[in-house]
């Protein structure tokens, strides 16, 4: 058991625990806070995988933007009664069995693969090589230039669609 493994196990446990709390919390705002903690855990596992850029983007996009957007939406749709409601469907036992089945089937499939037990060693990349290769590939016409432009269109659609849906023309000006 090396120290890296211990660090990984701690982050994984924290992440899994907070993910459980996201699903299990009664208050929505608490769910959102647990969600942020699990995003942080995922970011640190990205860092352990030496994908620094994505660890930071995880912080920037998920915690800095998506989590805040979710919290804003929670505040916009908050209801006085929310905490008294039954938060989970009554048939959750069935779903639990289904989910455990899916999980064990996944594990079974993984374990038949020969590379499953590979030890991941440090890559020894501390400079910009990864990001540079990534940057070049998304702009190379024989690389990923098309997905790159398509994602811009996706974002455009999300922006216009989101704003169009969220803005309500009839009730303008009813600010609290």
């Amino acid at each position: 058991m090396t120290s890296t493994q211990v660090i990984f196990l701690i982050t994984a446990l924290v992440t899994i625990f907070s993910a459980v709390m996201v699903v299990g919390s009664r208050k929505l705002f608490h769910s959102a806070l647990w969600l942020i903690l699990s995003f942080l855990g995922v970011a640190s596992s990205f860092a352990l995988l030496e994908a620094s850029f994505f660890a930071i983007v995880q912080l920037l996009v998920y915690i800095g933007a998506i989590a805040i957007l979710i919290i804003f939406a929670i505040m916009l749709t908050r209801d006085i009664m929310e905490d008294e409601w039954q938060q989970i469907n009554r048939s959750w036992g069935l779903v639990l069995i289904l989910v455990i089945t899916i999980f064990s089937v996944l594990l079974g499939l993984y374990s038949t693969w020969s590379g499953f037990q590979t030890i991941l060693n440090p890559l020894g990349i501390s400079g910009q090589e990864n990001i540079l290769a990534f940057g070049k590939s998304i702009l190379a016409p024989d690389g990923f230039a098309l997905p790159f432009e398509a994602s811009s269109v996706l974002l455009l659609a999300a922006m216009i669609g989101g704003i169009y849906i969220a803005m309500d023309r009839k009730q303008e000006g009813d600010e609290a």
Binding site: S3, F29, L33, I36, S52, F53, A55, I56, V57, L59, L60, I63, G64, A65, A67, I68, I71, F72, M75, S126, G127, Q128, I131, L132
Partner: protein, 410 residues
Amino acid sequence: MGFLNFLFDPISSISTWLSSLLAGWGLSNEIITPILYLIGAGVLGTGALLVTLLLIWAERKIIGRVQDRFGPNRVGPWGIFQSVADMVKIFIKEHIIPSHVDPIPYHLAPILAVSAVLLSLAVVPLSKTTVGTNLNVGLLFIIAVGGLGELAILMAGWGSNNKYAIIAAFRATAQLISYELPMVITLIIPVLLTGSMGMVDLVEAQKIPFILAAPLAALIFFIASIAENGRAPFDLAEAESELVAGFNTEYSGLKFGMFYVADFLRAFTSSIIFVSIFLGGWQGPWAVQIPILGFVYLLIKSVIVWFVGVWIRGSLPRFRIDQMVDINWKILTPVSLILVLLTAFIDKGLGLSSIYLRYIVLFLLNIGVGALVIQLIVKQVKKTEVQVDVGSRERLVARPENMITIHHQE
């Protein structure tokens, strides 16, 4: 010679000495590194918090002079121990915890607020040889940890269980995320010029500071970082003279003090960051040979930038919320996006090899875009300006539409 080396570069000398000392005790490398890191982080964090005491005093003094007051002048010479006295007082004040607070967010928020400010120091190179850590995505790291500060504000607002606190928290967060956008976008320009996101590479690439290649970008970044600090003229979220107190209404004692510390410290760290990105950081004459000199340069530059920030705080009146929103979304963000595009296109299109020519072209480009923007703003203001006949008996009511502002054309 050894002594001279120590004098020129004390921090790395100490760390070399410490690591050899620990190795002498038979510790393996795997333990020495974390211990050194722990000591380094501890010294940096404690030092920053202690410097805050000085910063608070200096800022109060400067603001006092700007507003034609004395500022603190009773405790010690020039009142220099005023913030020490304040600290002692705030330490022994009662922590009033209002009923029905949401305990975890309420208690965690002040801690997180300070932590978010301190963390950005971890990647800033303090001299040629001294840097917390040379993370290869340091620049983005600095922006990302700023997001933790927004989180602290939201948690404080929610946890307090107070209508005003939560409204203020939402206002503050909306302002912070809005102004984070021009920061994120303008910082692409230094990365374009360097080809690296590491802070060490970024500073070392600035034999000529980037502010000469991108003055407009630096200006936008500076304005955005003032707004990120939530200080005048962008202090709508805790307009001291208008609202209750902002998101920290329900905090008292040292918990409030932590928000206060975070506020004053952030003013300084953001100027350190500005200096590192646009003004060459520790670069200066003989800074390579004598690293300690680089640290001095960094401090001098940062203090100057910080002073400009305080000066602005003392001089400018507060913006209204619609002006604050307009400045960001209708000026800073579009201008910074267009500036990035133009910089990338013109620099690549001309393909100049001489660094001086490149800088001159980019400088002219920035000035040109800046002049154009100012012209547009002036035109827009003229269009919406309301002519007031001072002699007439009718007076305009102080309403947003009657003021000189940049209005959206419906």
